[in-house]
Symmetry: C2
Subunit: 330 residues, 2 copies
DNA sequence: ATGAAAGCGCTAACAA
DNA sequence: TTGTTAGCGCTTTCAT
């Protein structure tokens, strides 16, 4: 398995250029010659060395993927979407976690350049000018994934979180709820959560209703449930929108602890459609974010950029959907 | 950012060999010369081209990671463990999903060779001789991760699933349960599940108890719950061990549907310690599998192999633990 | 349709 | 301590 293109050429009785041609299908080779080359390749179990190929051609067929944390809920599904499409187009992915730290993120762009990746798929909580500058410097084609660029400087694939939250409000209003509260963690920590909150507020105001917030110290079940329970015991809304599924489970259990029946006394609507929404009782209605599609579409987008195919828009908005389940069916 | 080592040499007024030396700290360079080189590097924003370096040195500082599916529950955490340790040792990872298909798995080993990875971290459901042969052919250092090699041919990092199941049985017996049933999907599909079942059987027999099985058509909540419910309504055990967390949630809800109180009427013990064990009521006692550690330890193992450090054993067994929660506290 | 030869950007002997 | 030089295994002109 460590024969070189030169060995193949010798065995086939041709020049390495010809071997290269049949390997890459880059020029017409006589059928018979081609067969000899193919035979030699099989006989030697030859495999082209991608590193040498990368150096010579300046294309590595690998793309860098920078995520805050693969192990975060359903981020893996997004990565899976990337990898599936990458494979279709014969790309490999180099995966790195940034933990959302700006210096790590910019460092990573640099090391990805060193690796000579052909392009970059980038995810972060909130896009900063520093990110954009680094991309610029590295001169790498970049596509943002589940990351918003309000100024549209970088191609991106996203859903419209604000609109999704507005849809949630309208959905609950259509069910007769007027008193809808929004459950989220602290503000300014999670751009996604903030966008949803903004949508909630706007929809409420447009409907002439008073927004009302239940803020938890952290976006995490154990601490959230106690916090929600105490706030709920003071003032009971008719419906709750949680900024993600885990908070929604906390809201559900907090409600049940207070003997509120879900959905009869209070309806609950979540965000993200992770698996846990179907492991609760009742199951949770949730806004589904197309995690796999984020990755798949972004990667496809990048292949277009790299293959200079025609691009229509630089900002792809993926559709979101309300998955209705028992928590809002009354 | 596309200056070459030659440019740096010219600007610093030295030879490229010297630049290479300061870059890799591979020989002593006079302080003053070094400074000139460093200045030139900074001035040119020079970054070494890892592909050229890889070709010349035959080391790419990247390792291939082959998993069945990153998006499978908590597989991402394992990958995260790999990546964290990889970064400590300046490695990058190329991630690929095999979907557990043998041909894809062996193909991937080949393309990983093409990419000239320095080593391989490999995960699969059940290790076959074909896998071993492929590793042999590719001549790549391989470490198995959360994958058992009963014959010890390939270095591996694992827990002792059989022992874990035995521990589970003994734990429940110590709580006064004699009638313990094992909940799992069909046999022969999941090597992990089978090993656990074997441990369960052995522990029961050693205690002179009759093993009893609840088999579900699929390892998936929605279909499992109905199946478990109907089997439970015929014969009620005092405790249930489920071969994974999702089945345990199904067992929990099935029990509750039949008005069995958990843990008073029936105790439930799960496997894997995924997040959902703490989103149920009551929370589930579970055997924790150190997902992150699998990855971290396996990667560290590989770095030892690559750096020819001393290795003591080729089969690392990681400790498992019983996380006791309310579902077995009575 | 095929071959010869010059790189790609680096590392690693070997000299000096 | 530093420089010269020969590759690493390919792709890609340019000839033929």
């Amino acid at each position: 398995m460590s024969a070189t293109i030169y060995d193949v050429a010798r065995v086939a009785g041709v020049s390495m250029a010809t071997v290269s041609r049949v390997l890459n299908d880059t020029a017409v080779v006589k059928e018979e010659t081609k067969k000899r080359v193919l035979d030699a390749i099989a006989q030697l179990s030859y495999r082209p060395n991608a590193v040498a190929r990368g150096l010579a051609s300046k294309k590595t067929k690998t793309i860098g993927v920078i995520v805050p944390d693969v192990s975060a809920t359903y981020m893996a599904e997004l990565v899976r979407g990337i990898e599936d499409v990458a494979r279709m187009y014969q790309y490999h992915i180099i995966l790195s976690n940034s933990d959302g730290q700006l210096t790590r993120e910019t460092d990573l762009v640099g090391t990805m350049w060193e690796k000579q990746v052909d392009g970059l798929l980038f995810m972060t909580m909130e896009l900063r000018q520093e990110h954009v500058d680094t991309f610029e410097q590295a001169q790498l084609p970049v596509v943002l994934c589940r990351t918003d660029d309000p100024e549209g400087r970088i191609p991106s694939v996203n859903i419209d979180n604000k609109q999704a939250a507005k849809d949630a409000v309208n959905f609950l209003m259509a069910k007769g709820s007027g008193k809808i509260a929004f459950v989220s963690g602290p503000e300014g920590v999670n751009a996604l959560s903030d966008a949803r909150k903004a949508g909630y507020i706007q929809a409420m105001q447009e409907a002439g209703l008073e927004p009302s917030y239940i803020m938890t110290p952290r976006e995490e079940y154990a601490t959230a449930i106690a916090s929600i329970r105490s706030q709920l015991s003071v003032d009971r809304p008719q419906a709750l929108i949680a900024s993600n599924d885990e908070l929604a489970v906390a809201a559900l259990h907090a409600s049940q602890d207070l003997q509120f029946r879900v959905p009869n006394d209070v309806m609950i609507l979540a965000f993200d459609n992770t698996k846990i929404t179907q492991l609760t009782r009742p199951h949770l209605t949730t806004i589904s974010q197309p995690m796999y599609d984020y990755g798949a579409v972004a990667m496809r987008f990048l292949t277009k950029l790299l293959g200079d195919e025609q691009i229509s828009t630089y900002t792809v908005i993926l559709p979101h959907q309300i998955e209705e389940r028992a928590s809002t069916m009354k």
